[in-house]
Amino acid sequence: MSDFQELVKSFSKTREYVRDFFVYGFKTRNEFKAKSPRTYDNERRRLESWLAPFVRKDYVSKGSNLSLAIDSNLLDTNPLFQVWKTKSFTDNDIVLHFLILDLLWNGRSLTVEEITDHLLTQYETLFDIQTVRRKCNAYAREGILEKTRLGKRAIFSLDNRLVLWLKSHENALDALAFYQMAGCLGIVGNLLTDQLDYHNQTFRVKHSFFVHTLEEEILLELLSAMNHKKSVILTIKSSKRELTSTTNCVPLQIFISTRSGRRFLCAYAERSRRFTCFRLDTIKSVISLEASQVYEELLEKLNRNRRYLWGVSFEGPERHHLDRLTMTLLVQEPAEHYIVDRLQHEGRGGTVTKIAENKYQYEIEVFDCNEMLPWVRTFTGRIISLECTAKSVEQRFYQDLQKMYQMYQIDEYNLSD
């Protein structure tokens, strides 16, 4: 492994490996069947290098397991942000980066020819003009440098007011320290805090799902398409069947689950002419197309439909348009009034009615009641009855309960109170 490189050119392969290690941190070398052993060894070595403090090795009979031991309760940042800081570069890239920024920092505006001259006279480094031009143009495209025209000449300069303003306002730095942990695209906030040499020692985030940072590049492309109201072509790799497919759609909104951290693109799929949600971690690439002529119309239609969405599914198991779920709960008042609060705060618009002493009824109409079952189960121990117009949902709830009674040997008629 003498040719081992710690940095990488492309993020997509890395994204899959890190996700596998993070999510399935119990696979041995032999179990990563999709890749060659040598690729596995190199990827594993990189991962160990990038995330060293969080890598745990467990020795099992079939080899050693590598996993990431990450407890979000103990961390001031997301350790997986490191993965975004691994892009490889050339020797010219790094030298030009520092010298050009140093040269322009104090407010000078220079042409490429002048910059090239200064690099030689001021720093004793020789570069050809084309290399310097490419770097300056690339930095102008990224917004790091400003490019203006004076007649036929292109002049490059650097605006440092914003970075100096941020550095001198501690409350702005605190805001960045918070958002890098708690907000959308936290990686960008983290890059900023790195750049400004400010490290979070104040905030922690509960219910933070670190692994989803791996989808941020895809999210960026989707947001850009949404900002420009454009259609896109998505390449999707099914997580269950490992099949890759493409789909044309109009991206409308990002749905996020705070309970699982999962993020979905809600889009209008052109072929099926339906709203559909795609998990961000299954989207491998996004290609922007032209602006959609009916974007606003679709968005309005989605907004009208959203009140009937429980999660991300627009169709239930029995293909009714809408299904109604009614749950009756036993709530010992006043001690258990927090259960009523839960129904109100977590019930996504369902109605909550007191129907008798210590009895409350929750009712809602949604596209897919199947999606409600995980939430419904959290009231186990208080559910007097559950009725649903999608009978399969009702059956599944009671069948699952029976299975659990068997699993834990819960006897009938053992009335404890």
Partner: protein
């Protein structure tokens, strides 16, 4: 707007710190900086480039390295970063940090940037609806006082309404401000004297704080917050068996991803997952485990198993009662 870019790379960051110092460095100083900020194997890539002068950024004077740079610059913000900042200005929580005048200054500097997203681009479909009142004056003032006290390790006098409705007030040192994405609420992880020079950790909801007053007293002895949190975990973790049907394995792995956990395969379709937790997390964890239904089987610890069985027993009893 590139996110995976070398300008944000760890190596650039390490080099920036070395060049920024503007003091002569020995190779040992450089090594230490790389070990502190680089990846595990960065030394073997960076050191040769500096020693052989390929990265011609230092003047070498014998064994001493001097930065060739004249200024202590910071990299200007890229368009990606400016657009990110612009999007944050529309977030309801930004007012906890910035004054109106500061928001206006930032807005002015970012006039030509397009926000990376708009609030309406995101829908947190299962977020609780009783989030904290971020625009409330008292709330904002309490937040800022706690932020200041946390940085200065200073005691604050907190007047608090407990969940039972009683008013209490105690002196605490703010250790961390904890935000819950699910609840859309801030909680304070606070240190309180427990007698005999010991400190204990308590969690307080910011929205229940009536008043927060800075005191003149500072925390003088160091406290290791993470050790305190880890010591609060039960020694016997939650032991789950995951039956890999209906994609339960992946769902469970992602769902419990924010806990310290360890998973092993025990047969073709069953996996064992150990989850470490403390008393404060217990009820929430129980609820999360119940949400999976029979796809997860709790094997231990006894305490957790008892709680789960009690819930199931109540459930069976309620249904039996109704049938009678």
């Amino acid at each position: 707007m590139e996110l995976f870019s070398e300008t944000y790379s760890c190596y650039y960051q390490v080099l920036h710190h070395l060049l920024y110092r503007q003091t002569p460095l020995t190779i040992e100083d450089i090594r230490q900086e790389i070990c502190r900020e680089g990846f595990e194997e960065s030394l073997i890539s960076i050191i040769p480039k500096l020693e052989n002068g390929v990265w011609n950024l230092f003047e070498k004077d014998g064994s001493i390295y001097r930065s060739k740079l004249n200024s202590s610059f910071s990299m200007p913000l890229s368009d990606l970063e400016k657009s990110y900042l612009k999007a944050l200005l529309s977030d309801p929580r930004i007012g906890l940090f910035l004054e109106q005048k500061q928001l206006e200054s930032l807005n002015k500097m970012l006039a030509s940037s397009v926000p990376l997203w708009k609030q309406e681009h995101f829908c947190y479909y299962d977020r609780f609806t009783d989030g904290d009142p971020y625009t409330d004056k008292t709330y904002r003032s309490n937040f800022r006082t706690l932020l200041l006290a946390q940085k200065q390790k200073r005691y604050v006098d907190i007047d608090y309404t407990s969940p039972r409705g009683t008013r209490v007030h105690h002196h605490y040192v703010p250790a961390r401000l904890e935000y819950s994405v699910k609840n859309d609420k801030f909680r304070l992880l606070a240190l309180k004297q427990a007698g005999h020079g010991r400190m204990k950790l308590e969690t307080l909801n910011l929205s229940r704080m009536q008043r927060v007053i800075l005191t003149d007293k500072f925390l003088t002895s160091p406290v290791d917050l993470n050790t305190m949190i880890q010591n609060s975990y039960y020694t016997d973790p939650l032991r789950l068996h995951i039956i890999n049907k209906r994609n339960a394995l992946e769902r469970a792995m992602l769902h419990f991803a924010n806990f310290e956990k360890n998973t092993t395969k025990i047969d073709e379709s069953t996996y064992e997952c150990l989850i470490y937790y403390n008393r404060n997390m217990e009820t929430e964890l129980l609820i999360e485990v119940m949400s999976f239904g029979p796809m997860l089987k709790v094997m231990g610890n006894d305490r957790f198993l008892r709680s789960l069985k009690a819930r199931l027993q109540s459930q069976r009893d309620i249904v039996s009662c109704q049938q009678k």
